[in-house]
């Protein structure tokens, strides 16, 4: 009876979204989630925000492929991964303020456990470069006490799991050239222009 499922289908499809939000709330309340995530709009395109129990664990650009990023997170942190908009409201709000130039510093817990110890040390130092300023890879290497590790600092910036919030875009080449960026050169240019305005 093919028309049976057809008749019962439309209403069910429309209501799953509401039930899904309710599920996310309950799953959160019962401590069942490994990763909760949402997507926000921004001047540098859609951004995926994902958090572990400890804090913001990943910010991804659309070019990275959100499905691929979530699959990687599921493997690394556990597969109880669910879209849960409300849990990330504070981060989303601060990002909105940042892009509106009403915020220069992020006040959110960041979880850098996806980074190796050295990269993590570099990434923890990056918020020390203030809004609107830049530093060279060599300067950051000196800052973390490994002046010879300029190349490794480059890798640490390139693999920053929480770009924008941890401002790896403020690290540029010594000759003034921009250097690479996870979100592509346009995104890096846009962020630097936003902060310079």
């Amino acid at each position: 009876m093919t028309d049976l499922t057809a008749r019962l289908a439309p209403a069910a499809d429309a209501d799953v979204a509401a039930l899904r939000d309710r599920l996310a709330t309950r799953a959160e309340a019962e401590g069942l989630l490994d990763v909760r995530w949402r997507v926000v709009d921004s001047p540098v395109g859609e951004l995926l925000l994902a958090a572990s129990d400890r804090g913001l664990v990943r910010v991804a650009f659309a070019a990275e492929g959100f499905d691929a990023v979530l699959a990687t997170l599921a493997t690394a942190l556990g597969s109880r991964v669910l879209r849960a908009p409300r849990a990330l409201d504070p981060v989303a709000g601060q990002l909105e303020e940042y892009f509106a130039r009403r915020r220069q510093r992020f006040e959110v817990a960041v979880d850098l456990r996806l980074s190796s110890p050295f990269r993590r040390r570099v990434q923890e130092a990056l918020p020390g470069i203030g809004f609107g300023r830049t530093a060279s890879y060599a300067e950051v290497a000196a800052l973390v006490g490994s002046p010879g590790a300029v190349r490794a600092v480059g890798s640490a910036c390139a693999t920053n799991p929480v770009p924008v919030v941890v401002p790896c875009h403020r690290v540029v080449r010594s000759d003034g050239a921009m250097g690479g960026y996870r979100g592509g050169p346009e995104a890096k240019r846009a962020l630097l222009a936003l902060e310079a305005a």
Partner: protein, 170 residues
Amino acid sequence: MQQPFDHAVDAHGAVVLRVCRAVLGPGPDADDAWSETFLSALRAWPDLAEDADVRAWLVTIAHRRAIDVTRARARRAVPTEQLPERPSSWGNPDVADEELWTALAALPHKQRLCVAYHHVAGLPHAEVAALLGGTPAAARRAASDGVAALRRALAHRVDGLHRTEERTRP
């Protein structure tokens, strides 16, 4: 299962809701069964085999959670003057659809479940039989008797739809 749990909700959320509604009728009970199904599934998700049939697995859980919801309803059933107003996710019901739900609810229980699990959820009769007990042949018969009864109940609709609408929407 290593892939994000989102995939299970995206791919099977709607079919599980249709199954819950077919078994419990559209309304808060079906919504509760859906929520409990996906909460249970979320708990067990990391331990589920990579090659598991996720839809069949979810329908099995939904079957059990629907029983829980029915029992809970029976426990809390007390005579009352007024029905409590609970938000229903049953948005904008069509008159014709309402008739189908009523006909579905009027089926003998076994037939109703066999229609829900075979025709709505798409499980093979053998899996329906494994879920409900009995033989695959009996599950097939119950499903086909159920569908025949639905057809009979809705047979008048081909020429009777307008009359129905005038009657219920003055």
